[in-house]
Symmetry: C2
Subunit: 389 residues, 2 copies
């Protein structure tokens, strides 16, 4: 049979669900009595289980990072540009794992899941989870897969924050961290944008204090506004100008409140399509995880002290046009790693794509990323690859 | 009687209402059969009526630019820092006029006004007005006051755009333009932010397609989100960090969705207080006036060609931390003025206050502003000051 997928694709993939019955203590003080994680894997685990890579997703991501669920899928997983044979995260060398985070809405336990105590969806009663909670749950997944240490933990944006947290919380279980387009903690402005997005959702009359599932409605207006706002922060000023400029959909001003400029139409489309595929309670949780992320806080606000716990070698990548998490923020991470005498490489990639650049196959970015990952691959055994677990 | 106002205040002021019965043609193609403008004046008009200054307000401003309406007002007009005896716009030399723009909600004809055709508030049927429409209506006001030409037209942000438009549309009626923290037209990103704000309002179930007055409700949730978002663009990243940082209201994370960070509390407060004093239909109109402003559009997208119509001498001022209308945007204005061989002065003021800096008495800003206005004052007669009109 001839595959219809590109030769550098991981091809058809099937998510797996894993149930954890041991209670998981959370930063908020509550405990999840048990939980499920949905995850995918690409490539094969080698005999000494040394070639495993964990991919951590960002705000609206999930476990479907690469490949296709069905032969006729219109598009592949969210980071398919980076994962596959011959790609930066080369599945000929690595066994790649990606799970949907706790609190998510794509299969892992989250607000849409049934709360065993009530028999109804958790909704707003799902605990506010943190990056540290996610890392703790991902360690459970590693245990299950028999992975004592990751060759690398890799992520962009909020995913990069998880990679950083891994280096601090499980220093002997991560050999490399690749932290892309991230920040050591949110700026005041970052929190401000999150708060406006949350207010849009929380104030939507269809939100019903988070109990909208029972009402058969969703806070679509609030979620749409939140997503539209998010998109402004994902793109750069220059990128928007190049792509949309002040182009008018009908070539003239119409003096009404329908979409007139192309950028309005783009944002509305993005907002609308998001509403159909993402849960508002999960969106709220993800923004909180971002706001709360602050690894230095446990170390007297000294990020270098936090990284002194770490052993992993790190690659930090930023993009010049990213104003959500600017290069200056990545340099804060680099400086702290240097001060902690850690092994760190840093690349600042010229780009016009803003924060979204981390998802795009920008040549200089991918050259850097690939070279680094080849170094990681050189350290792992390529013999006796096991069958996919 | 001893005044309780500061010695550099214009003191108690009383707005005046003026009715114009001659129809006003608008850019949208419609005509207002008649309209009212509410305005205030400070200082006295001199005998040859050469010392008149027009102040143009920004998105949420109004005619009350300086002084107090009542002895116990908690705060003065919105630009009281700049207008008064001894201030940059010195009322010992100038006769200062400020009106609420058409479409506004503070007294001039706008969506809350009664539509003579229906006997009900215009609401969403109020025409979308432009900066050019405003300038046209302000010229009518000048006619009424017997002012053939303004010594200067001055404004910040959207107000600066009106000052620019004055130089092009009425070149022989404006001797100086002071354009502060403005842009020659909105960037794609600027339009995008406006569109998110509009969507928040338009999608609020209490908006009722703009007919909320009749329902006895207001789209407070949408307007609040719009204003919160606006505030992020008025402040700088650095200013927010300095003022609010990541300070927590209760000194610890509470793992809930109430305000936790000080910045959240600030934004919610700003949003709430705005809802009580501003009309949502007017907010929509103001954002459209911003989006549509593009004086170069009538001149084959050549701003210099637009300014070749102008005769006014110009002072352009920008602020380093303003990311809503950055210094680069002001330099576009300056370059076009230079290319048009106009007399232009430009000052880029170091500041951390973002776009809001134009409202603040920053020493270097006020020195520049004052020196320029003294030059303007030197050109007008100081004899035979008339009584206030």
């Amino acid at each position: 049979m001839i595959s219809s997928f590109p030769p550098d694709s991981v091809g058809l993939v099937t998510p797996r669900m894993l149930r954890f019955d041991e209670p998981l203590p959370l930063d908020c003080g509550r405990t999840l009595p048990g939980f499920e994680l949905i995850y995918e894997t690409y490539g094969a685990l080698n005999a000494d289980r040394s070639n495993a890579i964990l991919i951590c997703h960002a705000l609206s991501g999930d476990h479907h990072a690469a490949g296709y669920h069905q032969a006729d899928d219109s598009k592949p997983g969210w980071w398919d540009t980076s994962i596959g044979p011959g790609k930066p995260i080369d599945t000929r060398h690595f066994f790649v794992v990606c799970c949907n985070n706790l609190g998510g809405c794509n299969g892992s336990t989250g607000p849409v899941s049934i709360n065993p105590d009530t028999g109804k969806p958790y909704g707003p009663d799902f605990p506010i989870v943190t990056v540290k909670d996610w890392v703790r749950s991902q360690a459970r997944l590693a245990d299950h897969l028999g992975i004592t240490d990751w060759a690398a933990v890799i992520g962009g944006s909020l995913g990069g924050m998880q990679a950083m947290q891994w280096t601090i919380d499980f220093p002997d279980r991560i050999r490399h961290a690749v932290v892309i387009a991230a920040a050591p903690r949110l700026s005041t402005q970052n929190i401000a944008f999150n708060e406006v997005a949350r207010q849009a959702i929380l104030s939507d009359p269809d939100f019903h204090e988070g109990h909208y599932y029972e009402r058969g409605v969703i806070p679509r207006r609030g979620l749409m506004v939140a997503r539209m706002l998010g998109h402004i922060t994902y793109l750069s000023d220059e990128g928007m100008r190049t792509k949309f400029g002040r182009e008018l959909r009908e070539g003239k001003l119409n003096f009404h409140f329908e979409s007139e400029f192309e950028i309005e139409s783009y944002l509305r489309y993005q907002g609308h399509s998001f509403v159909g595929r993402f849960d508002a309670n999960t969106y709220l949780l993800m923004t909180k995880a971002l706001d709360y992320f602050d690894p230095a806080a446990d170390f007297d606000n000294d990020l270098a002290a936090a990284f002194r716990q770490a052993q992993a070698r790190c690659l930090i990548i930023s993009f010049t046009s990213d104003w959500r998490f600017s290069s200056a923020r990545s340099r804060e991470i680099v400086k702290a790693l240097v001060a902690a005498k850690r092994d760190v490489s840093y690349a600042e990639i010229p780009s016009t794509q803003g924060h979204d650049a981390f998802l795009m196959p920008i040549p200089r970015y991918f050259e850097t990323f690939t070279a680094y990952m080849q170094r990681v691959a050189g350290e792992v055994s390529h013999d006796a690859i096991l069958a996919k677990t």
